[in-house]
């Protein structure tokens, strides 16, 4: 059952990314292009996604997941250098070509060679992230 619902969630997520325009890098870059021909579509995507998700978080209160276990607890509200540095690096890459992790997989079948190169290099980046993380942690403990 876990596999079935994981597949369904992934499929719905992918359908939403395609329909909303999140896999169209021109739309993504258009939205990030505040000083150019700004395209507001992505604000609607974010809004449309956050509303059902906020309702879902409300439903979790006092309950457990349908297939057992516990709901993920809220992370400590700690804003460290990893969060900020990581988000800035991610944003630079996202703005550069207009792809983020979800859409890179959703568009893999129609994204051509570029899509494959993006996914491969993203996975490489994920492999080298742990030592970079350790380095930032070492700096944080020294300070």
């Amino acid at each position: 059952m876990r596999a079935v619902f994981a597949f369904l969630s992934g499929g719905l997520f992918g359908a939403g990314l395609l329909i909303s325009g999140m896999t169209d890098t021109r739309k993504v870059q258009g939205w990030l292009d505040i000083f150019g021909a700004w395209d507001p579509t992505l604000a609607f995507v974010m809004g449309g996604a956050i509303i059902p998700m906020a309702i879902a978080w409300r439903i979790t209160v006092g309950r457990t997941p349908a297939l057992g276990g516990i709901f993920p607890p809220a992370p400590e509200p700690k804003i460290g250098s990893k969060l900020v540095v990581g988000s800035v690096l991610f944003g630079m890459g996202w703005g550069l070509v207009g792809l983020c992790p979800g859409p890179s997989i959703a568009s893999l079948s129609y994204g051509g060679l570029g899509g494959i190169v993006f996914l491969a290099t993203m996975i490489f980046g994920m492999m080298v992230a742990p030592p970079v993380r350790a380095k930032l942690d070492a700096i944080a403990t020294q300070a």
Binding site: F7, D33, F35, G36, G93, W94, S109, T121, G125
Partner: protein, 141 residues
């Protein structure tokens, strides 16, 4: 196009429903970078199979829709160096920040997580600067 916002809102709604389903049924946060990243660095452990099924759905369903509709396009730049650099930045960045657009942006903001909000402000800000720099000033994409 004038109707783009309707597709945006409808597609966004599906993304939110997907996240709600994964949370309420499987008890997991729908964060694409975490789901993939945990498989890549081995931290997914016993959740590996579940994550593989999620990724399979994420790959096959939009692929099927694109095949059926026949006009899906990513309009990705053909500058492979820029794509490679962006891929590495996205991979390292999302793993350091422990989340991306889906995890911090959709799942985090919707539970009013401070980390999610701060991350989103920084990646959208950096994304905006990146477009100005690489598209308008340097013209590489």
């Amino acid at each position: 196009m004038e109707t783009d916002w309707i597709y945006g809102l409808a597609g966004g709604g599906l993304i939110g429903l997907a996240g709600a389903l994964f949370l309420l049924v499987n008890g997991r946060i729908m964060g694409a970078s975490g789901i993939v990243g945990g498989l890549v660095d081995g931290s997914a452990g016993s959740q590996s199979a579940e994550r593989m099924w999620f990724i399979l759905g994420l790959f096959l369903v939009p692929g099927g829709i694109a095949l059926w509709m026949g006009d899906a396009q990513t309009h990705l730049t053909d500058n492979l160096w820029a794509i490679g650099a962006a891929g590495v930045l996205v991979g390292v960045g999302t793993r350091l920040a422990n989340g991306c657009t889906s995890g911090h942006g959709v799942c985090g903001i919707s539970r009013l997580s401070l980390r999610g909000i701060v991350a989103t402000v920084f990646y959208i800000g950096a994304g905006g600067l990146s477009v100005i720099m690489f598209k308008h000033i340097l013209g590489v994409v």
